[in-house]
């Protein structure tokens, strides 16, 4: 079940050995870079809704596919150029569309998108994606 939108508890991180511990005005603050990243990651895992995580994983997949194509192009060359553009822009375009769906359906943005229901956003997303796919298949001939 997706987590509710109640404010999550602040996770406290244990501070590693530091010469002078900071003042205790901010409870649970960390000073280490890796601790910060760990904190961000934990907060992300615990606080983001399931659907948003699904969106994020699809976007990560698109980044990987796009990066692979780009690296291949750098190594082997960009002939035929229209094919490279078509393949690469498929991933980039899809990423942009998915990002806009994420913005519109993220519960944290609910205040800005009162008039657009999630179904409407998703329908727009599907329509845009189909247009993108049609364009890419046409452009690669």
């Amino acid at each position: 079940a997706p987590p509710s939108s109640t404010p999550a508890k602040q996770t406290s991180t244990t501070t590693s050995a530091k010469p002078a511990p900071k003042s205790t005005s901010k409870p649970g603050s960390s000073t280490n870079a890796s601790d910060i990243l760990q904190g961000v990651w934990d907060k992300y895992v615990h606080k983001t809704p399931q659907r948003v995580k699904l969106l994020d994983s699809f976007m990560a997949f698109l980044v990987v596919v796009g990066a692979l194509q780009f690296v291949y192009c750098c190594i082997v060359g960009n002939f035929p150029f229209n094919a490279f553009l078509s393949g690469f822009s498929a991933t980039v375009g899809q990423f942009v569309l998915t990002a806009s769906l994420r913005i519109q359906t993220n519960p944290e943005n609910k205040a800005e998108f009162e008039t657009i229901s999630h179904e409407r956003a998703f329908a727009d997303y599907v329509f845009g994606s189909l247009l993108l796919h049609f364009f890419c298949v046409n452009f690669i001939n």
Partner: protein
């Protein structure tokens, strides 16, 4: 009655032994009608070959080379005249105009008479030079006829000429000895590419005026191989003019005379040589004709161009970049009576240019097959990777052959939008095709998962 008709047509056919490719009206300009007998055998031979002779004096007021702006005759023989003026009809300008209208001229000179001024300027125009003084003739102390010119050495006995270059067909070849009595030697200028020698003087000959009383000739007009006894000009429109240095060469007396060359008795072969020279001059030999010219899109069924003469005349006006095109052309050579297949000299070939401003292809046309009357030459090539207006261009100018020039214009267009290779046919594009379809597959999986999963927040129904 039918047998009578066929007999009549057979008789007519028999009368024609050889006929010129360009017409049979022949004008002989001869000042003194009494001299006609001297040339009787020569003129008789011409008549037997199918020419219609008209003998006129240059002083005749009705003589004209033209009628209503067209040639009145197809060929002209100019024999030597006593007077220096040839009359108003035969000025150098008129004769050149006659040649511009593709008329052929055979010009005979004599050392006995002065060359008329009209002919002097005509020859100057054509870059053929003759000695300016009257009476100059060609003398050879080693190749003379001991029977008739024991002391004067002015009758030369020469073998038949060899071909100019190895790859030029010799239309004047033969066996025997040619007598050239009292000839006016000619030299050819260096500027014109249209003049060619036929019979050259041997290296021991020189030009000499008997009236000159010095013991040795200082500064002769020309010597040796520089002297021509028979020279030719073929204009760019293939009109031919031959200068025969000795008009006596054409006379009966020398046609088959017994002579002595260096102690050996020989018979002159003048009749045969004169026949060859006049045949060439009057377009009975050395004439090329282009027949059917076909170019077509080679669809790739067979690698070799279609060699049969049954290829339908197709000649499309437009081709595409990088098309396979096959080109065939029929060329015949006219040989005295009929058209025969043309065979270029060994090592020589007719070339086809596919050109726009400058040739993109220059190909040797290979002889593919022969019909009864012609050889079919062909070549195949790929249109270049350049669009534009191109010409199929054949230009074949060889010594002693009429000039061949053919041009056909075609358009070469770009690839049409649906003629480009599809993406899957290009192996380099397979990765990107894969990229697109992986994206689509991932998207479909995402959509399925999204629709399967529950919404992020419960929709709060507004209660009325």
């Amino acid at each position: 009655m039918r047998w009578l008709f066929s007999l009549l047509s057979l008789a007519l056919l028999g009368a024609v032994h050889a006929v010129s490719f360009t017409g049979s009206r022949l004008l002989v300009v001869l000042e003194d009608a009494k001299e006609q007998e001297k040339y009787g055998v020569f003129l008789g031979d011409l008549t037997a070959r199918g020419f219609h002779l008209t003998v006129e004096s240059p002083k005749e007021s009705s003589l004209s080379l033209f009628k209503h702006g067209e040639r009145a005759y197809d060929h002209v023989i100019l024999l030597p005249t006593k007077s220096k003026g040839l009359g108003p009809a035969l000025t150098a300008g008129n004769i050149l105009e006659f040649m511009k209208k593709e008329g052929n001229v055979l010009l005979a000179l004599s050392s006995e008479y002065a060359t008329p001024t009209a002919l002097q300027s005509l020859l100057l125009e054509l870059d053929i030079h003759i000695p300016s003084d009257k009476g100059a003739l060609v003398v050879d102390h080693f190749n003379y006829d001991s029977t008739s010119a024991e002391e004067k050495h002015d009758v030369l006995l020469l073998p038949y000429p060899k071909s100019l270059k190895p790859d030029v067909k010799n239309y004047f070849a033969g066996e025997g000895v040619i007598a050239v009595p009292r000839a006016v030697g000619q030299t050819l200028g260096n500027d014109s590419p249209l003049i060619a020698p036929v019979l050259r003087a041997p290296s021991t000959a020189y030009s000499y005026n008997p009236k000159d009383e010095a013991d040795i000739v200082e500064d002769p007009f020309a010597v040796g191989g520089q002297l021509n006894l028979v020279s030719t000009v073929q204009a760019l429109n293939s009109a031919r003019l031959t200068v025969v240095g000795s008009s006596e060469m054409l006379q009966n007396a020398w046609f088959s005379e017994k002579a002595t060359l260096a102690g050996k008795a020989v018979k002159t072969a003048n009749r045969d040589f004169v026949e060859k020279v006049s045949s060439w001059t009057f377009k009975e030999t050395g004439v090329l004709k282009v027949g059917k010219l076909v170019h077509y899109l080679d669809e790739g069924v067979s690698k070799k161009p279609n060699a049969s003469s049954a290829v339908p005349e197709n000649n499309p006006k437009i081709y595409r970049v990088k098309n396979n095109v096959a080109f065939t052309v029929e060329i015949s050579e006219y040989s005295n009576t009929h058209l025969t297949p043309f065979v270029p000299a060994t090592g020589d070939s007719v070339q086809l240019e596919f050109s726009m401003l400058s040739p993109f292809h220059r190909l040797n046309l290979k002889p593919l097959s022969q019909t009864a009357n012609s050889t079919i030459f062909g070549a195949s090539f790929k249109t270049p990777d350049q669009h534009g207006i191109f010409n199929f261009h054949i230009k074949y100018n060889r010594p002693f052959l009429t000039n061949v020039e053919e041009k056909r214009q075609v358009t070469v267009r770009h690839f049409a939008h649906d003629e480009w290779p599809r993406s899957w046919q290009i192996s380099g594009a397979w990765v990107w095709i894969g990229g697109i379809w992986v994206t689509v597959a991932g998207w479909l999986a995402f959509v399925a998962l999204w629709l399967y999963s529950a919404p992020a927040e419960k929709i709060v129904k507004k209660t009325q």
